[in-house]
């Protein structure tokens, strides 16, 4: 490890601009002549649009344009798409209802965009938006997925009868049923995974600019995924052909998944810019974020886990209803299927698994990937069930898990995944040791003397990251490949630009990616720039989500670096009159191994560009591109142990200890990894204790502001104790597994296991708020 290379705790390069307020976000972008947009949104969860009258609004001061869905359709703008085709078990394709960027006949959730108003100022746009007169005929709404499936429930889309989008299965139903029948013990549970609002610090925003002279569009947008945004906006929404559409995602203030997708607003702002002849900017306010950012989770499941007489799991059967909201968002279909049910084997040897998943339309905000995306839901089922099973079987939760751990790799699960490496026992050992698991009984007794209920809970999670092998996801219905690209440009003076298709919105790529270059060529971090987020600068890429930027994005960079290295060595061998095989690059020098002959790095770069003396036939320049398609998913795993103390008088839960022992494969920057784990656990504790989106029966979002939606604050969280025991990932050149989502995946069941242990109950709803905990304690008495 060099002081700036792989493994070094380098302070994040990008933080200087972020913490001095110098970051540049979409809302900071100013284009000459730019005007402001406001959207008129549905106040109803379900209604027919009878009439839209824009006359009054058009006459308001400063108004430039008031545009409706009819005009948008007339201009040929397409409907939003879901990019992953899932087939029901009867072979029929998923039943997708139309999602027009501006609603035309019907609105389907509170916040559905109906009209865009463009005006000189934001205030004027909002004033005029209030003057748009829309006549609605209200319809009955349904917000609960289970109720939506019942006969006679309100129909959200004509295309999906009984609101059922697809009824999908995976695994072997017969073998699983047989295992349950023959079992010595079966643990059965009904488990709810609560709906969450992502709450990125920066709200979504879009600036659309149509340049008439060039017949060219530019879109600044808060995207985790600008290249795919361009592709989709060109290919499906008919905004403009790709060569006439530039998408820029500048600094983006957090995404957690919610900014992967293409939303109506960016499409409408681009179209409205052409229509009105002015650049159009829209920035969501916090209420719009709550109402319209894609939400996460919202599953209801029943599970049955079968054990033989040796406490080995013999089968796991799952039935899940997943609420997808009013429209199918871009990746909504793969989250409760291939990102979920394929992880139901967890860290365990389970010979038979079967999962059935029904996805359902309701009159709520669309639901899509949110930090962890499917894997937290799978982990929650498994780890809650394991805990309850251990209690039912009278075993230590740690021992029941250890008894069932997969110990040999590669391991083929019954649900597609092929685990390549791991050491689950090592994580469990590290976590039990760090948490003094053995000494818990003493601490519980001490707490009891203070009138407190103390509980301990663990969670052994696994997830699949680095998504994903393109051919594999293609065969499962994905509309895109999930490789990544990189271009490494060595300048004539030896400084380096790395152009990547990954997108950083808090991850620290400008630091970690530069560390890789430093490791390879010894160039100081300051001489390495990471370029991302602009389709005019960077070749096609697939963006950042699913903890893929390290495993896939950096692997692409490593591949491009290989090519640069090979060429640099050829040049150096030529200049130093040595054999190519004897050249090594070390500490910023290109040397002939075992001699004192060397050239500084920059001289090799300079030679490539002066091209005065290159090997015969070699092209000038030192710049290489690579596309990397991963060979497999990566499988980060770990063990989390949470200890809580509950005040039975008020139901308040205090997390007194939280230990995380993760296996992330090789680590580029331990400080950044710890930051990711801290943030992920904060979100997981948020889900378990604090957060929850609630709609009333009429479809109004009751938790549409921070007055009612509880975000985790520093004071709600303990000081995390994190560590790693790493097995390098054999499936990518850097041995990286990914760490971005682990915390949010592993922590909720650990917290709930601890709370239910403290109270002595089987289950409690998330968020386990003080009132919920108090009611549970009272119900037990």
């Amino acid at each position: 490890m060099g002081i700036e290379g792989i493994g070094a705790r380098v302070v994040r390069k990008e933080d200087k601009r972020f913490i001095t307020g110098a970051g540049r976000y979409v809302d900071d972008m100013v284009v000459p002549g730019m005007k402001h947009a406001a959207f008129v949104r549905s106040p109803h969860a379900h209604a027919q649009i009878k009439k839209i009258d824009v006359k009054k609004a058009q006459a308001m001061p400063g108004v430039i344009g008031v545009l409706t869905g009819k005009e948008l359709k007339a201009d040929g703008i397409g409907n939003l798409i879901c990019g992953w085709m899932i087939h029901s078990k009867d072979g029929s394709p998923m039943k997708m209802g139309a999602w027009s960027p501006l609603a035309v006949d019907k609105v389907r959730y509170v916040g559905d965009a109906v009209v865009i108003v463009v005006a000189e100022t934001k205030g004027q746009a909002r004033d005029a938006a209030e003057a748009v007169e829309i006549t609605y005929k209200e319809l009955k709404a349904v917000v609960d997925a289970t109720k939506a499936l019942q006969k006679g429930a309100p129909q959200v889309h004509a295309e999906a009868e009984d609101n059922l989008i697809f009824d999908w299965e995976i695994g072997d139903a017969k073998a699983t049923d047989a295992a349950i029948k023959a079992a010595a013990h079966v643990t059965r549970m009904k488990i709810v995974n609560n709906r969450l609002v992502p709450n990125a610090m920066e709200p979504r925003a879009a600036l659309g600019h149509y340049d008439k002279a060039e017949d060219h569009f530019t879109c600044w947008t808060t995207s985790q995924n600008p290249h795919v945004a361009r592709l989709v906006m060109s290919a499906f929404y008919n905004v403009a052909p790709e060569n006439k559409l530039r998408v820029i995602a500048p600094d983006v203030g957090g995404g957690f998944g919610s900014k992967i997708y293409i939303y109506p607003e960016e499409i409408v702002c681009l179209w409205a810019s052409k229509k009105t002849g002015v650049p159009v900017k829209w920035v969501a306010d916090r209420t719009e974020s709550f109402l319209t950012d894609a939400h996460g989770r919202d599953h209801v499941s029943t599970v049955e886990m079968a054990f033989d007489k040796n406490n080995k799991i013999t089968g796991f059967k799952v039935d899940t209803i997943a609420n997808l909201g009013a429209y199918m968002s871009l990746f909504s279909s793969c989250v409760p299927t291939y990102l979920y049910a394929t992880l139901l084997s967890g860290q365990y040897n389970i010979p038979a698994i079967h999962a059935n998943v029904r996805t359902v339309y309701t009159n709520t905000a669309p639901v899509d990937a949110y930090r962890g995306a499917g894997r937290p839901e799978a982990t929650y089922l498994l780890e809650r069930t394991m805990e309850v099973a251990a209690r039912e079987l009278g075993l230590s939760p740690a021992e029941l898990r250890r008894t069932n751990f997969i110990t040999e790799f590669p391991h083929q699960t019954p649900v597609i995944m092929n685990y390549d490496a791991g050491d689950y026992g090592a994580s469990l050992d590290a976590a039990t040791k760090a948490s003094d698991y053995a000494g818990f009984a003493k601490r519980k007794a001490a707490a009891a003397r203070q009138g407190k209920l103390r509980g301990i809970g663990m969670s052994c999670y696994i997830e699949a990251c680095g998504i994903a092998p393109s051919a594999a996801v293609g065969s499962l219905g994905a509309g895109v490949g999930l490789w990544e690209s990189a271009e490494v440009r060595v300048n004539a003076v030896g400084t380096i630009e790395v152009l990547t298709g990954s997108h950083s919105h808090g991850q620290g790529h400008e630091t970690t990616f530069a560390q890789l270059v430093n490791q390879r060529f010894g160039v100081p971090l300051d001489s390495v720039s990471i370029v991302h987020g602009d389709t005019d600068k960077v070749q096609m890429g697939m963006g950042t989500y699913g903890s893929r930027s390290g495993a896939v994005g950096m692997s692409a960079i490593a591949k491009a670096l290989d090519k640069v290295e090979a060429k640099a060595k050829k040049i150096a061998a030529h200049l130093l009159e040595a054999d190519e095989g004897d050249i090594v690059i070390e500490n910023g020098e290109v040397k002939v191994a075992g001699t004192d002959k060397s050239l500084p790095w920059f001289q090799v770069a300079l030679a490539a560009y002066t091209a005065h003396n290159l090997p015969a036939g070699m092209e000038p320049g030192l710049k290489e591109t690579a596309f990397y398609d991963p060979a497999n998913f990566t499988f980060p795993a770990g063990c989390y142990i949470c200890e809580v103390e509950i005040d039975p008088e008020t139901g308040t839960t205090e997390i007194v200890q939280f230990v995380a022992a993760d296996d992330f494969g090789n680590i580029i920057n331990p400080m950044i990894v710890e930051g990711q784990v801290h943030g992920g656990i904060a979100q997981g504790i948020g889900q378990a204790l604090l957060e929850g989106a609630h709609y009333d029966d009429s479809g109004q979002l009751l938790t549409a502001s921070y007055m009612d939606y509880t975000m985790p604050r520093a004071g709600d969280l303990p000081s995390f104790r994190v560590s790693t025991t790493n097995t390098p990932c054999p499936s990518n050149p850097l041995g990286i597994k990914g760490c971005g989502e682990a915390g949010a995946i592993g922590s909720p069941p650990a917290v709930i296991n601890a709370i239910t242990d403290a109270i002595g109950i089987t289950d409690i709803a998330m968020p386990a708020s003080p009132s919920t905990v108090w009611a549970a304690i009272r119900a037990k008495k």
Partner: protein, 265 residues
């Protein structure tokens, strides 16, 4: 926010005149009014800013009498040395309001005028038997707090101060709403020359109220143990997303007990 005319009042008399114009509203710390305007839920034509009027600022203690100017910020109430001696419970209460930014701007007058059913000050003023002083008259807290966001204030009437006699013992215990950090239940107990009084905020479906059950139990014996087994009825308590009426009833007893223990400490 809609366009609005801003006036900075130089004196209470000046403010009283200005507030007559159009659909004017008084502005103090703005921590309640401005967010409501930003979300377009409030749309005054004019704002009359009281926060720079010298006469409305600061805490005065003379003998047992405490007077707090209406435009005194929560921060200043929390940190006033004289008040921390005369009635530390009230200074402590102020330190529990919102977050530092809210405490630097928000004022006691604004809070009292707004009478949010989950605000902290109303519990203290009711339990302390305080007087709300306006530019027109003096109103007892018992008559002032009428219902949810409702007070005895008349159109354009300006609170200038609140005053009360320092109690022998007092304490405030607050159970926070996990999201907003307002009170789900806040209990202020005070023991003064007129006996024990206990006021509850955050819980009543008609706003702040005095708890007869708790007062009766404490009248005989001002000790936490006097509340063992005392049940507060759930009737007339709020149920919302965060807490049921039963849970609030429980919390009233628990917070009261803790407050008495703190008052006696």
């Amino acid at each position: 926010m809609y366009a609005v005319n801003y006036h900075r009042a130089a004196s209470v008399t000046d403010a009283a005149k200005l507030v007559k114009s159009g659909d004017a509203k008084l502005l103090s710390g703005g921590m309640t009014l401005i967010p409501a305007m930003k979300t377009r839920l409030a749309a005054p034509s004019d704002l009359v800013d009281l926060s720079r009027i010298k006469d409305l600022q600061g805490v005065k203690v003379s003998g047992k009498t405490v007077t707090i100017g209406a435009a005194t910020t929560h921060y200043d109430v929390a940190n006033d040395e004289k008040l921390r001696k005369a009635c530390p419970a009230l200074a402590h209460l102020a330190s529990l309001i919102g977050d530092p930014a809210v405490r630097y701007k928000g004022t006691i007058g604004g809070s009292v005028a707004n009478n949010d059913p989950a605000a902290d000050y109303p519990a203290a003023l009711l339990a302390l038997g305080a007087t709300i002083v306006t530019n027109k008259r003096e109103i007892s807290a018992a008559k002032f707090f009428i219902g949810l966001f409702e007070t005895a204030l008349k159109e354009g009437e300006i609170i200038t101060a609140v005053s009360f006699t320092a109690p022998a013992k007092a304490a405030y215990e607050k159970f926070r709403n996990p999201a907003s950090r307002y009170a789900i239940v806040g209990v202020f107990v005070a023991k003064g020359k007129d006996g024990v009084s206990v006021a509850v905020t955050g819980a009543g479906d008609d706003g702040v109220f005095r708890s007869k059950e708790i007062e009766a139990a404490l009248a005989k014996n001002f000790a936490a143990s006097a509340l063992d087994g005392v049940k507060v009825p759930a009737k007339n308590l709020m149920t919302d997303l965060h807490a049921s009426a039963e849970y609030r009833a429980n919390l009233i007893a628990v917070m009261a007990k803790r407050a008495v223990a703190a008052a006696n400490a």
